[in-house]
């Protein structure tokens, strides 16, 4: 009698799981937030997530498209990198592709943060901060702040660029043979009071 009941429950679960997987795939195919938010395209090439990336500002965990104000991103976030092998090292890049304003981003990609040599399963605290964190303060418009994780070929193979302005993530990845990113997330940041200000 017990066996019967459990088998019925199992089939029910399996059916529900299948539905969920279908729904998940459907959601992903309809629009990855990174694609819809044009992070893939403006900053990155299409990629597949291989490593989990968890970014937390204080108590708030960053999900794609989250709206944060400059006061909430004043201090550097806590970043947890997944993976399994401690011998793998990762590079975290944080850029703003909407400088000086989203409607006319002619100074595209301002480098806010660069941390290299992050061992897998740890965080940025264990990495090497090549370019220190500069808190986003968008003057106008709603800016996207993109955090990208690359997998390094080896330890101490990535170096900082000369300046933060006119940073090109694609060129940077090409220069140090980082390949496609393994994880990325982004949030929106706009002026403290008001809603984005003038979009000039």
């Amino acid at each position: 009698m017990y066996v019967r009941r459990t088998s019925f429950k199992d089939s029910d679960y399996i059916r529900k799981d299948c539905e969920r997987v279908k729904k998940y795939i459907c959601l992903l195919s309809r629009g990855d937030p990174l694609v819809v938010g044009r992070v893939v395209g403006d900053v990155l090439d299409p990629f597949t997530r291989l490593v989990s990336l968890r970014v937390t500002y204080g108590q708030r965990e960053v999900t794609n498209g989250l709206d944060l104000r400059p006061s909430q991103v004043l201090n550097k976030p806590m970043v947890e990198v997944g993976g399994d092998d401690l011998r793998n090292f990762y590079t975290l890049v944080m850029v703003d592709p909407d400088v000086p304003s989203p409607s006319n981003p002619h100074l595209r990609e301002y480098l806010h943060w660069l941390v290299t040599d992050i061992p897998a399963t740890t965080g940025t605290a264990f990495g090497n901060e090549m370019v220190c964190y500069e808190s986003p303060r968008p003057p106008s418009g709603i800016h996207r702040m993109v955090l990208i994780l690359f997998r390094q070929l080896g330890r101490q193979t990535v170096y900082a660029p000369g300046w933060r302005q006119q940073f090109k993530t694609r060129e940077f990845a090409e220069m140090y043979n980082l390949g496609l990113p393994v994880a990325a997330t982004y949030f929106n940041c706009q002026r403290e009071n008001g809603c984005g200000g003038r979009r000039t």
């Binding site: 017990y2 429950k9 529900k16 969920r20 629009g31 937030p33 990174l34 794609n64 709206d67 929106n188």
Partner: protein, 350 residues
């Protein structure tokens, strides 16, 4: 008094008057008034010419015309009449063409004052008619609407543009640049634009002729390059600019009579002109606003998708945990009877 005679003969409404009255007017008084007016007019012209820069020349010239309506009209008239006589086209002036041609040819230097004083005495409408007839005669351009001068204004615009192409007037100094080179089709387009009929007409007319330098200065360089990917909006800015340019030209060549008679109409045109000027900026703003709206939608959609994904993820996790819990409970339930039996068995022996 050959000039006054001429003027009277030119005017169809005063044609029926007797010639004795005209002869009685004193020549000396007429001459003095003429000289006064001419002096002041020339002074105005010189001052205007010095102070005005080339772009706003035409507009200021229009204001000069306003301040001296009678004189300017007289001057136009004289020039036109000379040209008309040279071309022997005075026959189109219906009432008394031979006398006018002969008198004008004989006395081209003195005639201005008498015309002026006479013009001041007359009503505005009659003067307008006279001028219109002369213009038409000099241009070889007889309009279909010439019989109804008061009812529509377009033929007059056209005729003025044609008249300005004649190289014999001293106003050419003020009309340098693109205004003289404007061909007839653009003037037609101007007419339609002033009526506010349709912008497509202006776009069609403006396409074969490159816009003048003033338009380019208004265009603000590469501002419209990004419009190329927008579907129907590419045509409108150019046409708007062109019509704006033409509209800005219109008031400078309006006759003072028109301005006086149809003052309300002129005010309307002014309003249209300012609208066209801001239309360019408004269009840019509109494009930017659309881009911004698209970005906003994408942002919202991305966030919604992210949240939906998270919901699906959490639901899956929740289901997994529920199943785990169920399995654990079942395992516990399976273990429970064993325990009981064991306990019983343990407690069984007495």
């Amino acid at each position: 008094m050959p000039l006054s005679l001429l003027l009277e003969s030119l005017d169809p409404t005063h044609h029926s008057r007797n010639d004795r009255r005209k002869s009685r007017t004193s020549l000396s008084s007429l001459l003095t008034t003429l000289s006064h007016l001419f002096l002041s007019f020339s002074l105005y012209l010189r001052v205007g010419y010095k102070t005005i820069d080339t772009k706003t020349k035409a507009v200021l010239f229009g204001s000069v015309l306003f301040s001296f309506p009678m004189l300017s009209s007289a001057k136009h008239q004289r020039n036109l009449r000379v040209s008309a006589t040279n071309k022997n086209k005075a026959s189109s002036i219906s009432p008394s063409s031979p006398s006018s041609s002969s008198s004008s040819s004989t006395s081209s230097s003195s005639p201005l004052p008498s015309q002026d004083s006479q013009g001041q005495k007359r009503s505005l409408i009659t003067m307008e008619e006279v001028w219109k007839d002369i213009n038409l005669a000099s241009i070889h351009h007889i309009n279909r609407h010439s019989q109804h001068p008061q009812h529509n204004h377009e033929p007059r615009f056209r005729s003025h543009n044609h008249q300005n192409q004649n190289p014999n007037s001293i106003f050419q100094d003020f009309l340098n640049g693109p205004l003289n080179q404007e061909p007839a089709p653009t003037s037609l387009a101007m007419g339609s634009a002033s009526n506010g009929n349709s912008t497509t007409v202006t776009a069609l007319c403006s396409s074969p002729f490159p816009p003048p330098a003033t338009v380019l200065s208004l265009n603000s360089g590469a501002g419209f390059e990004f419009l190329d990917n927008q579907d129907p909006l590419v045509v409108t800015p150019n046409s708007n600019l062109h019509s704006h340019h033409n509209l800005s030209n219109i008031p400078s060549f309006n006759t003072p009579f028109e301005a006086l008679v149809t003052s309300t109409c002129f005010g309307k045109k002014r309003g249209q002109e300012s609208n066209e000027g801001t239309g360019n900026r408004r269009h840019k703003r509109m494009i930017k606003n659309r881009e911004s709206a698209a970005r906003s939608r994408a942002r919202k959609q991305a966030y919604t998708n992210e949240l939906e994904l998270e919901v699906a993820h959490l639901q899956a996790e929740n289901a997994r945990l529920k199943r785990q819990q169920d399995q654990l409970r079942m395992a516990a339930a399976n273990q429970q009877p064993k325990k009981n039996t064991l306990q019983r068995s343990s407690t069984a022996p007495f």
